[in-house]
Structure formats: structure tokens, C-alpha cells
């Protein structure tokens, strides 16, 4: 399975995503510069965290207009797995691949901590190795992770089971309904503020993010298997 980790000017969790894929999955992974316009060779595309374009103007706004995001849209439409983490989530909402928006934390402060999440949907390609209701410890590190969507969108997210993670018994940023991560209707595009790539060994304080990566590999293997049978 081949992974791409996108790199925008100002990305800074790109290396961490690469390390996580290598360490947890031992699968090939490339870093891909923002000017690239063809991502067809990749099975999973990770839009990593960081401060693309310094988070200036609005987080993710400038990155969302990069050539590579056009390519991401193309691969998303094909059903490839797309993951946006932290700034990557912001970029995906700015691009319109995911609904809603992320604003300043209600505390008006950046917040870094290991935070409990509850897995709301364990049927996505990103969470199949978890069980619904699992509480997992995953780091957050953001100043603008306060998720918002209008009533109608929220109702749709809930009825389609698109809320994948919620903060568990806490709300570090003021997100509506404690939403920490969502997926698109088709289920192949996921955005989340917490950083699963930072939770892949006990030395780092939690290994609960490993199953996030193994889920993706399993989902891909299942897909390949299905194709071969068909």
C-alpha cells in the first residue's frame, strides 16, 4: 500500500506522519510537494498538521488553493483514502471536501495535551480496528480546532454517522457537540483535530493511535481482496 504525505510551505507534522506510517505499517510513503498535480499512484493521502502558510489569514485557506489539492479532490472522488490531521483537517474543510469550519478555540489559547476521544463510528476505513465506544488517548495541539457547522449540516453528519470521534468528557476547544473528527458521506475522507501519528508508542505517552493506521492498511487490503474476487 502506498502512502503520500503532502508538504505545504509551513507544514511541520509531515515528518511525524511519515514516521508513523513507516514504524506502524512498514509501508512505502512519499512526501509530496504542494505543486504536484498527480496523486494517482497513491492509495492513501495524508494531509498533515502544521502551519501551512503560517496559518495566516485563515488556517488552511491558502493551502486549499494549491495544485495538489485539486489532485486530492480527484483521488477522493475515486474513493481513495484521504486523511486530514489538524491543519490537514482545516485544509480539507477549506477545500470543501469536508463540511463545516474550524475557528479559534473558545479559550482563545493554543492547547497541547493528550486528550481522551470516544470512537463514535468504528465502521470507517480509519477506525475499523477500534470498537464503537472505545475511549482512546490521542494528543491535540491546536489553537483553532473549534468545529462549527450549521444545524442542517450537523443533523446530516449525525444521521449519516459521519461524526467519527468526539472528545470524551471534555471539550478542549468549544467544538459543537464535542466533535473531534468527521468523515465525508462516502466515508473515504476523514478530518480530525487530534494527532493519531503522535500516539504510536508508549514512549510518546500513548500507543492508541496505532490502530488508526492499521485500520487503513486493513481497509485497503480488504478492498484489494474484493477487487481480486470481482
Amino acid at each position: 500500500m502506498k502512502f503520500a504525505v503532502l508538504v505545504f510551505p509551513g507544514s511541520n507534522c509531515d515528518i511525524d506522519a511519515v514516521k508513523a506510517v513507516e514504524d506502524v505499517l512498514q509501508q512505502p510513503v512519499d512526501t509530496v510537494w504542494h505543486t504536484t498535480s498527480d496523486l494517482s499512484e497513491y492509495d492513501c493521502i495524508i494531509v498533515p498538521g502544521g502551519f501551512s502558510y503560517g496559518d495566516y489569514l485563515r488556517c488552511g485557506a491558502m493551502a486549499s488553493l494549491s495544485p495538489v489539492m485539486e489532485a486530492v479532490k480527484v483521488e477522493a472522488a475515486k474513493g481513495k483514502f484521504i486523511v486530514g490531521i489538524c491543519n490537514g483537517f482545516q485544509i480539507l474543510t477549506e477545500t470543501g471536501l469536508l463540511p463545516g469550519a474550524l475557528r479559534h478555540n473558545d479559550t482563545m489559547q493554543f492547547r497541547c495535551d493528550i486528550t481522551p476521544l470516544v470512537v463514535e463510528n468504528a465502521d470507517t476505513p480509519f477506525t475499523r480496528e477500534y470498537s464503537k465506544g472505545d475511549v482512546i488517548n490521542i494528543p491535540i495541539a491546536h489553537g483553532e480546532g473549534n468545529y462549527i457547522a450549521d444545524e442542517e449540516t450537523l443533523a446530516r453528519l449525525n444521521s449519516n454517522n459521519q461524526v467519527v470521534f468526539r472528545y470524551h468528557e471534555c471539550n478542549p476547544n468549544g467544538s459543537v457537540e464535542r466533535i473531534a473528527g468527521i468523515c465525508n458521506e462516502a466515508g473515504n475522507v476523514l478530518g480530525m483535530m487530534p494527532h493519531p501519528e503522535r500516539a504510536v508508542s508508549d514512549l510518546l505517552g500513548s500507543a492508541d493511535g496505532k490502530a488508526f493506521f492499521t485500520s487503513i492498511l486493513k481497509a485497503w487490503e480488504a478492498r484489494v481482496h474484493d477487487h481480486q474476487r470481482a
Partner: protein, 748 residues
């Protein structure tokens, strides 16, 4: 030399009207310039001399003292004198680090002052070819309680936000630091930032401009009119009265691009020398690079990329616009830089070349606008041997008699008072605003004694800490200096690291006052003694003087940044108790703690008095070696240095972190407050599994280090009995809420 078309004063006017004084040059210094040049300097030249000879750039008051620091050891690859020092950690790996102050700018504009301080120290480290992997900071503010202290809260809140804003954006984890609150710092907050970088031996880059004809490039941000005379301004007292045009705004996004581009460029091997344009901007970077190589430089001012039209050579040379670097490339390889910088959306512009005439020559096209012998800027800068006198206040503070102090009636309440004092309370408010996990190598996060950052691809890790107790230095400059080094090293040892080397940031008041100079001289002597005793040479540092306002001098506050090597990830140790049933030992002398200089004496009795706490460097060395050995042999479950607040506070912190209680049983002939809250060096609390106890005790005995079994981990309360009498008893959760809640509550 051309005549003046800019309405700048003429050389004659500068001399006659003593205009040089407004630049910070004294009459004697100006005369020396005239003598060295053999003529009167023009406006640009006067500006250049004034910044190069400022305290900030020339270290004219501190140089004779700094020379005495031990700086050599087989593992030192680069000592003081470069942008940052470098040490060898084996396997072809090296570590570069440095600490720097941004006190004066932070007093004026705390967010941007702190942010640009972080930006500057990061540039110092990546200039050496190192990938920055960690940031630390050491902060001092006035008290933050009560209605009168809103300004101190404003400074504290915004300095922290500024550090976070810059470090988080650029993606370097801020893994540790310290914060102390004391009204001595209310007009002069201290903001010291440290950066640690990793490199291989072959990647080392230097700030030299050699090779006649080699091109000189300005890279990164354009030059603006901001921060002109910042270096001079950092060398005078009372920043508030100074012009505020000196405020610079940091652009961490630009710096992130600059960092990546510079490391990529250095990796090509085509770079001859590289240096950041920090204090005194283009002036200091160009003259220092030329001085190190014994060469000259010719720079065309018209080619310097600028933000605003109409900038004069004077403004271009003295601007302190951030996120700029000066690079000397091998001739003919300019295009390599241009390509790499274009990829990162940055500019790289050839602005001049290396010459062999030893002159810094500035032109505007063909016209020469300044010409100065480089050595006169650097080597001939004045050196002052300032008079030194033992401060009179010492007689009074040393005459302190503990018998004049009443014992508290309720020691549990006193413990709460200490845990709730901002200096001792949890600093989570601070570090939760820092991204301390980015790069996924932070294996001991903020909140323990020293932070630990793993080195990917190896079993090794780096332990790092910043420490410095200004009150100890105030009460006993020499011993206080020793304490700063000893505590930083002890913190590194507690995390499982072997202390290797020191970077220091020396924050003092005016060196022109003999009592202050005494503090400076003596504390540096103390630091040198401790560095020698602990085999941790000084490899880099920074001096910040004139931290005084309205006759209020800060405490003499040398801050030590210590880096140590953790040989194996298995050695990593943290301060929190791990398991019920384990035994707690106090390693180090159990009867040396006194009230002098303690946080207890200050907070509970409102006194800054007594001698600095006891410290014996031989005992310290033996203690650190023995504890590290025990850790490396896998015999220690937790280790915690005893610092502010003494034994009772250290026990509380280990209990809170581990969410476990402890039962302590002590015997002592000392006063109860000395036993519980007194401070002294060379003491470490360790947790040991019962089956390891006899082995550990034997190890310490053999090393000649005393150790005392204090009690046992377990339950959910901290219970301390002294001579059979219960003196402290409380639920750990209760202690925790006082400790954790204090700063957030004050900052609401």
C-alpha cells in the same frame, strides 16, 4: 568619501555637536574611533562603530570575566565564539545549542519581543548546520496576584503566547523551561530562550567569510526600517523611555521556510560561511564573518533587498529586521542558492563579495559610502575592567537569625501556601500552550525535572534543562553561581542523562555599579568552579546587562541551559512515583537544609535573607555520579531533584504526578520548617522497588553518598511524621488542586 546628500550630519558636525553620544558612544570611545580611522567617521560609520562597540555586541564589560569560563573538553567540537556551541555525542552525531535573552524588547512588546527572541535563537542554531529539535525558555516576571499586578499578568500572558506563537508555528517543540515570579523583575522581565539542534559531524557550518571573490548573499526577509539600534537599546537602562520604533514583528512562517532552505543549502556543501543577521543586523553579521576569516567584505547597499523605498545605507546596515541571513557561497555556485531559495519562495540576492584587504567597504554602486578596518570593529572594541565592590546589603542578609522566625502552627497549611505560590505551582498553564510533542520525539514532556528528546534511529536521547535561582546569587554570588550549574546538572541526572555541557545567559543590572559588578564577577567564578567540578564546559552563552529601572535592580540571574546524554532510552526516568509499596530514599546529606534564601522564607515570612543554601561541589559530583549509575543499572523508578520548597514540596510533586500517596517517617534534630521546607543543594529523592533497596543502599554507600530511607509509596494521602509526630497529612488530590489551580486562577 562622498559628500552627504541625505541631510545626515557631516563628520565635523558629529564631532562638534557630539552626536555620537545619542548613539551610545562615550567621548573616549569616539576619540578612539577617530584615532583608529585616522579621520572622523561619517554618519554610517559612526552608526556601525556604535552598535559594534555596544555592550550587546562587544561584551566590553563582561569579556574579561567570560574568558575565565572553562570551555574545553574532548567532546567540545565548537566552544564560545560561534553562533552556537557544538558537542560530540558519539556515532558521528553532534548537538548544537545556545541560550539568548530578549528581555528589553519583551518589556515593551511582550508578544513580539518573546516571539522574535525565539526566532533569533533558532537561527543561531540552524546557522551551525543543525536541525533544531527542541526549545526551552526561562522566564522572570513580577508577582501576578492582586489588582495592582495587572501589568505583570499582561507581560506573563503575552510572553508565553509569543513563545508559543513562534515555536508552534515553526514546528519545533518547546519542551521545558522555568518561570519565577518576584517583584524584583516587575520592570525588567527576563525572557531567555534556548534552542537545541542535532547534526552530524560533517554538517557543521561556520560563520566565516573567506575566499577572495566569493559572493556574499542576503537571504530571507527583506530589510525594513524596524529595530534600528536595537543592540544599543539593549545595552542601556530603562527600555520604557526609549523610542518604540525598535519593535520588530516576527514572521515564524518566513523563518520556517528559511530554516528548511538554509539546511538544504548547507547540505550541498557549497556554503563557505553563514550567519544570521540578529542584533545589529547586517553590520555585525558582515564584520564578524570577515573578522573570523581575517578577510574583508565589499557590500553594495543598492543591492540589499528592502521593504521600503528610500532606505539609506545607515538604515540598511543597522536594521534588525528579522528572519534574514548572510551567506558566503563558493564563487560560481550562487545559482545553487538561488534555486533552493526559489523553491521555498524566498529571495537570495548577491549583495557583495569577499576581499583580502581587511576592510568592510560599503558602496552605493560605484560610490564608496563607508570604509572601516574590520579588526577595529571587533578586536579593538573597548574592554572595561569595571570596579567591583562587595555589596553592603550582604552584611544585613547574612546576619539573619532563624531563631527570629516563628514556626508555622499548621505545616499542612504552609505546604498549601507553598504549592499555591506561582513560582512553585504547576506551570501547565504555560506549557499547555506550547506544542511540546511535534516531531514525535519528546519522551519526557514538560512537568518533570529535565525534558528528554529521543534521537531517531538510535537508542540515545538528550536530556535538557534550564535553571537559575537569582535569589541565591543575590545572597551569595559565588555559591549562587555554583548552584545554578549544579541544579541544572542535577535535573539532567534525574531524567537519566549524563550532563555534558552548558550554555549560559547572564542577566544582571548595570555593570557600572561596583556592587553589581561584584555579583557578576563572583557568580561567574562560582559557575566556573561548578563547571570544572562537574566536567561540563561552557560552549555558548549570552549576556544581558542593564536590567534595572528606577533603581530597582533585578536579582543577579544567571540562567543555565544544560544538555546531557541519555545513553539508552531505558535509562529515562521521571519524577512521579510509580508504584505503591516502593521505598522512597533521600539521596544526599539529610541535615544541610536551612532557611536562608528559601522560597518558604520569602512567601511565608516575607524575608529575603540568610546565606544561599549549602552546597559542596565534591558531594554534588559524587551524588550525581552515584544516582546516574543507579539509574543506568535500572535500579531507580523515579528521581526528583529537591529545589524550591524543599523536601515537602518535592514529595508532593512526586505524589501528584503519580496519583499516589506516600507515608514518610523522619528523625531530625533540626527545626521542623528547615526539615520540611528548607533548601540545600545535592539532594535527590528516589523511588526504589523493595527488592532493589539493599543493592541501591550499597551502591550509594560505596560511592560515599549518604542516603536515608524516608518511607513508602502508597495510599492516596501524603503523610509526613517527624520524630514520631504527624506534621503533614492531606489527600494528594487536595494538594493537587492547590498546585494545579494556582496560576490558572490568577490568570482568569
Amino acid at each position: 568619501m562622498t559628500t552627504n546628500v541625505r541631510n545626515e550630519p557631516t563628520p565635523q558636525q558629529i564631532a562638534d555637536e557630539k552626536i555620537y553620544r545619542t548613539f551610545g558612544l562615550t567621548d573616549e570611545e569616539y576619540d578612539k574611533v577617530v584615532q583608529l580611522m585616522g579621520r572622523k567617521p561619517n554618519y554610517v560609520e559612526t552608526g556601525i562603530y556604535s552598535v559594534m562597540w555596544s555592550e550587546h555586541c562587544s561584551y566590553k564589560s563582561s569579556r574579561p570575566i567570560l574568558k575565565k569560563f572553562p570551555t574545553q573538553a574532548p567532546h567540545v567540537l565548537q566552544g564560545p565564539g560561534e553562533n552556537a556551541g557544538i558537542i560530540d555525542i558519539g556515532d558521528n552525531l553532534a548537538v548544537s545549542f545556545k541560550i539568548e535573552s530578549h528581555n528589553h524588547p519583551s518589556a515593551i512588546e511582550p508578544y513580539q519581543g518573546a516571539a522574535t527572541g525565539v526566532g533569533g535563537i533558532i537561527r543561531d542554531v540552524f546557522t551551525m548546520g543543525a536541525r533544531p529539535i527542541a526549545l526551552l525558555n526561562s522566564l522572570r516576571f513580577g508577582e501576578i496576584d492582586g489588582a495592582d499586578n495587572a501589568h505583570n499578568r499582561y507581560l506573563f500572558g503575552n510572553v508565553v503566547a509569543g513563545i508559543a506563537g513562534y515555536g508552534n508555528c515553526i514546528g519545533i517543540p518547546t519542551v521545558g523551561g522555568e518561570v519565577v515570579f518576584d517583584d524584583r523583575y516587575k520592570y525588567n522581565p527576563l525572557v531567555n530562550a534556548m534552542c537545541v539542534g542535532l547534526l552530524t559531524h560533517d554538517e557543521i557550518a561556520k560563520g566565516t567569510a573567506s575566499g577572495v571573490g566569493n559572493p556574499v548573499l542576503a537571504v530571507g526577509a527583506r530589510t525594513g526600517r524596524d529595530g534600528i539600534h536595537g543592540a544599543t537599546f539593549a545595552s542601556t537602562e530603562d527600555p520604557h523611555s526609549k523610542e518604540r520604533s525598535a519593535v520588530q514583528v516576527g514572521d515564524p512562517f518566513m523563518e520556517k521556510l528559511l530554516l528548511e532552505a538554509c539546511l538544504e543549502l548547507i547540505a550541498t556543501g557549497a556554503v563557505v560561511g553563514i550567519q544570521d543577521m540578529g542584533a545589529a543586523g547586517l553590520t555585525s553579521s558582515s564584520s564578524e564573518m570577515a573578522a573570523r576569516a581575517g578577510s574583508g567584505l565589499e557590500l553594495d547597499m543598492l543591492k540589499v533587498p528592502r521593504r521600503e523605498e528610500g532606505m539609506t545605507p545607515y538604515e540598511l546596515m543597522l536594521s534588525e529586521s528579522q528572519e534574514r541571513m548572510l551567506v558566503v557561497m563558493e564563487k560560481g555556485k550562487e545559482h545553487i542558492a538561488e534555486e533552493i531559495f526559489r523553491k521555498w519562495n524566498l529571495e537570495a540576492t548577491v549583495i557583495g563579495k569577499v576581499t583580502d584587504d581587511g576592510k568592510l567597504r560599503l558602496t552605493e554602486g560605484d560610490e564608496v559610502v563607508a570604509e572601516i578596518e574590520v579588526t577595529t570593529l571587533v578586536d579593538d572594541a573597548p574592554v572595561y575592567h569595571r570596579p567591583s565592590a562587595r555589596p553592603a546589603y550582604l552584611d544585613e542578609t547574612l546576619s539573619f537569625d532563624p531563631a527570629s522566625i516563628a514556626l508555622p502552627e499548621n505545616f499542612t497549611e504552609t505546604l498549601h501556601t507553598l504549592l499555591g505560590t506561582p513560582t512553585i505551582a504547576s506551570k501547565e498553564y504555560v506549557y499547555s500552550q506550547y506544542d511540546y510533542m511535534v516531531r514525535t520525539s519528546t519522551v519526557v514532556r514538560p512537568g518533570s525535572d529535565a525534558a528528554v528528546v529521543a534521537i531517531r534511529g538510535t537508542r540515545k536521547a538528550l536530556a535538557m534543562s534550564t535553571d537559575g535561582n537569582g535569589r541565591y546569587v543575590y545572597l551569595n554570588p559565588r555559591r549562587g553561581g555554583q548552584h545554578a550549574i549544579a541544579e541544572a546538572a542535577r535535573n539532567v541526572v534525574c531524567s537519566g542523562g549524563k550532563p555534558l555541557a552548558v550554555t549560559d545567559c547572564l542577566n544582571y543590572s548595570s555593570p557600572e555599579k561596583p556592587e553589581i559588578f561584584y555579583q557578576f564577577e563572583e557568580s561567574c567564578a562560582g559557575m566556573s568552579e561548578a563547571c570544572t567540578a562537574l566536567a561540563t564546559p561552557v560552549i555558548s552563552g549570552n549576556v544581558s546587562l542593564y536590567n534595572q529601572t528606577n533603581d530597582l535592580d533585578i536579582y543577579p540571574t544567571p540562567i543555565i541551559g544544560m544538555v546531557g546524554l541519555v545513553e539508552d532510552l531505558d535509562h529515562i526516568t521521571t519524577q512521579e512515583f510509580k508504584q505503591a509499596g516502593n521505598r522512597i530514599l533521600l539521596v544526599g546529606p539529610s541535615d544541610t537544609a536551612g532557611l536562608g534564601g528559601s522560597e518558604y522564607l520569602r512567601v511565608v515570612h516575607g524575608q529575603i535573607a540568610g546565606d544561599a543554601p549549602a552546597l559542596d561541589l565534591n558531594v554534588e559530583k559524587a551524588l550525581q555520579t552515584a544516582v546516574l549509575t543507579a539509574i543506568q543499572e535500572g535500579r531507580i523508578r523515579a528521581a526528583h531533584d529537591l529545589a524550591e520548597g524543599g523536601l515537602a514540596v518535592a514529595l508532593s510533586e512526586s505524589c501528584i504526578g503519580g496519583k499516589l500517596g506516600a507515608t514518610i517517617e523522619l528523625n531530625s534534630t533540626q527545626r521542623l520548617d528547615e526539615v520540611l521546607f528548607g533548601e540545600a543543594g545535592s539532594r535527590i529523592l528516589v523511588e526504589v522497588a523493595p527488592e532493589q533497596l539493599s543493592g541501591v543502599e550499597a551502591l550509594f554507600a560505596k560511592a560515599g553518598v549518604s542516603s536515608t530511607v524516608l518511607g513508602t509509596v502508597g495510599g492516596d494521602r501524603l503523610e509526613i511524621r517527624v520524630n514520631g509526630e504527624a506534621v503533614i497529612s492531606d489527600a494528594v488530590t487536595h494538594l493537587e488542586s492547590t498546585w494545579r489551580g494556582a496560576i490558572p486562577c490568577l490568570m482568569k
